[in-house]
């Protein structure tokens, strides 16, 4: 027994002063391993970028910046342009934001200020469950449940009452920009809600108390003291949601109708950068493949930029006044 205890390896954090040479190496080793892990994440991003640049070289050399503004995507004539897909990506993401952000901010306000304490944790967990649902399941649910409901009830209603707007004109397919926007809104709800909650929680109570002291009602306290204070952080949360929305692939490709489209009708099928890459990648070669890589580069550029912007905004907000554990 005693020999076993003595032969236990020394790499455990010594509760003695640890002067063993073994433990010093162990500490160093541990630190190096952690450093390697952290660096490898950054390295991975750089490698992805390099691979995309390498793969898209042929397309970039042939089309140049015109790739970004050309609408043509034809395999037979080998002419490719990203404009229709950039349009689809941006529009479906904006629709998703317009639906998700008011819902999320409202939910976050409810969870931080208005909900009874016993309700807060269960409700938060339920919302986080939404994030646990895989993208492809959302796509399936969308096809079999959401699309029929939208096509039969919601869209004709919109077309009847708001048909004067070009947004709601045109034939109704069921799948399309608006449907994809709705499903992406559902998918980004959890993240925008949770970040908004953090932002609202970091508003100092002093602000709220001061507003109450001045005789404000509950809604006025929320509007004046909390929301206007947290405006920047909430904007950051929305931008983070946008970053996620831009990259959604599976659910979008099942619900957006897969047709390159630039126009005003929200009912019309369209296509996004991620969706067209997912669909066409398997069979592509040469210039076609290089063009898909170029689309990936465009998508990566947009997404990275948006995410960095969001991180900066949230960071400058939440660490300004309060010391929060990351």
């Amino acid at each position: 027994m005693a020999s076993e205890i003595a032969s236990v390896p020394v790499s455990r954090a010594p509760d003695s002063t640890g002067v063993h040479s073994g433990s010093r190496w162990a500490d160093r080793g541990f630190r190096l391993i952690c450093l390697a892990a952290a660096l490898s994440v950054g390295l991975l991003l750089v490698l992805v970028l390099l691979e995309l640049i390498k793969g898209s070289h042929m397309a970039v050399a042939k089309f140049g910046w015109k790739f970004l503004v050309s609408r043509v995507w034809d395999q037979n004539t080998d002419q490719y342009g990203a404009l229709a897909y950039i349009y689809g990506t941006v529009v479906s993401s904006i629709i998703a934001l317009l639906i998700a952000v008011p819902l999320s901010v409202g939910t976050a306000i409810y969870l931080t200020d208005l909900a009874p304490t016993w309700l807060r944790q269960p409700l938060t967990s339920m919302i986080e469950m939404l994030a646990a649902v895989p993208s492809v399941i959302w796509g399936l649910w969308g096809i079999f449940v959401l699309v029929p409901v939208l096509r039969v009830h919601v869209y004709p209603f919109l077309q009847k009452w708001f048909g004067f707007l070009p947004l709601f004109q045109g034939p109704i397919y069921g799948v399309g920009l608006l449907t994809a926007g709705i499903i992406v809104a559902i998918m980004i709800l959890p993240i925008v809600t949770s970040v908004s909650r953090e932002v609202l929680r970091s508003v100092p109570n002093l602000q709220r108390e001061a507003a109450y002291a001045l005789g404000a009602t509950r809604w006025e306290v929320t509007r004046i003291a909390v929301l206007s204070y947290a405006r920047r952080g909430l904007f950051g949360a929305a931008v983070l949601g946008l970053g996620r929305a831009l990259g959604e692939t599976m659910a979008v490709t099942m619900l957006i109708g897969n047709a390159p489209y630039i126009g005003l009708s929200l009912f019309h099928p369209a296509d996004t950068l991620a969706s067209v890459i997912a669909n066409q990648f398997g069979e592509a070669s040469d210039l076609f493949l290089a063009s898909l890589f170029a689309l990936g580069l465009v998508l990566l550029g947009i997404t990275v930029f948006i995410n960095i912007l969001a991180q900066i905004m949230i960071h400058t907000f939440t660490t300004k006044e309060t010391r929060r554990v990351a």
Binding site: M1, E4, I5, V8, V72, W73, D74, Q75, N76, I143, V147, P148, R151, P171, Y173, G174, V175, T253, M254, G257, N258, A259, P269, D271, N279, Q280, G282, E283, A284, S285
Partner: protein
């Protein structure tokens, strides 16, 4: 005492994992001679290869065949990179692709199937189409079901005044190749505007991923029309249209009408042929074959013999199983020629 218990329980857990891993590694076949064959390619052939795999394993348990349905293009790519032992494609390899190969590649036809036109209309309507009308629909020129051109082909059928929703494939596919091959053959407009390829610039319509996606969309959208491999339409109990063939007769898609089309097609020695719009009264016009692709010079003798053995079985005995999956069995003459081509493989 406590540490001893902890240590021995940890050892026990580790032992369980090691034993489990070991038991996974041991081959399913009892003999140590199991030969693993990898194939990849067309999803058109996928049902056939799955069925052939199982049946072949019963008579020859030494061969383990693994087939991935990744699409014709990916199958060709993998064959050129020599990461698989055989590929499968619905479109014959182009001269350009063949020139990239490190050796001569043989095309062996393994199945022939029909591309069915399916639709979603109220009432049990049986529709008839012809090539130019179909091309006009897919070009977006005909937009309503009760258009005079469609009504002319379907006298006596009550066509509704609804918009036609065109459904096509969003991913690259051999089924699209066969369909666009047909449209290019019957419509000069289509040949110039969209052409024939595994993926084209569709003038109109909604995309679905895979034949499953297209049949799913057609089932869900009233007033839609789409093209799918015949098996998907029959299994989903969806209506299929009759098509006017080159002789002017209306034919339904079925294994028999595809066989008839194949028997009248001219098949060159390298087996790269197209059989759309084939002559013959009973031929179905939108039919195509799918090929297994392999190198004529096999690098590994044992593996090569196993691949050839399997493919030979597929083109002869295996053809008896084809009708079960709504494929047309290869005519006898083609079977013999294919088997002879496989005999030319060297090791």
């Amino acid at each position: 005492m406590k540490s001893l218990l902890k240590k021995s329980s940890r050892l026990a857990v580790a032992a369980v994992f090691v034993l489990a891993a070991c038991s996974q590694k041991s081959p399913v076949v009892s003999t140590a001679q199991a030969q693993l064959i990898n194939g990849a390619g067309s999803s058109f052939d996928n049902p056939a290869f799955m069925l052939w795999k199982e049946s072949y394993a019963k008579i020859n348990p030494d061969a383990q065949i693994n087939y991935q349905s990744v699409g014709s293009g990916a199958g060709i790519k993998q064959l050129l990179a020599q990461t698989v032992d055989f590929g499968a494609s619905d479109a014959p390899m182009t001269d350009e692709q063949l020139s990239k190969a490190s050796g001569k590649i043989l095309h062996i036809p393994v199945v022939a199937g029909a591309v069915a036109i399916t639709y979603n209309l109220p009432g049990d309507l049986k529709l008839k189409f012809d090539g130019p009308t179909l091309a006009s629909i897919y070009l977006g020129e005909i937009t309503k079901w009760n258009d005079p051109k469609i009504a002319a082909l379907n006298s006596g059928v009550e066509l509704p005044d609804t918009s036609i929703i065109v459904v096509h494939r969003s991913d690259a596919s051999g089924t699209t190749f066969i369909f666009t091959d047909y449209l290019s053959a019957v419509s000069h407009d289509w040949a110039t505007k969209a052409g024939k390829n595994t993926s084209v610039n569709w003038p109109t319509g909604v995309g679905g991923k895979g034949s499953e996606g297209v049949s799913g969309q057609v089932k869900q959208l009233p007033g839609s029309v789409g093209y799918v491999e015949l098996a998907y339409a029959t299994q989903n109990k969806m209506p299929v249209a009759e098509l006017k063939n080159a002789e002017g007769k209306f034919v339904s898609p079925s294994p028999e009408s595809v066989s008839k089309a194949m028997s009248t097609a001219t098949i060159p020695d390298d087996f790269r042929f197209s059989m759309v719009n084939a002559p013959g009264d009973e031929s179905y016009p939108i039919a195509g074959a799918s090929w297994a692709l392999l190198y004529q010079k096999q690098a590994n003798a044992r593996k090569g013999k196993a691949v050839v053995g399997f493919l030979k079985w597929c083109v002869t005995e295996g053809q008896k199983l084809s009708p079960k999956l709504d494929y047309a069995p290869l005519p006898d003459s083609v079977q013999q020629r294919a088997a002879k081509a496989l005999d030319t493989v060297t090791y």
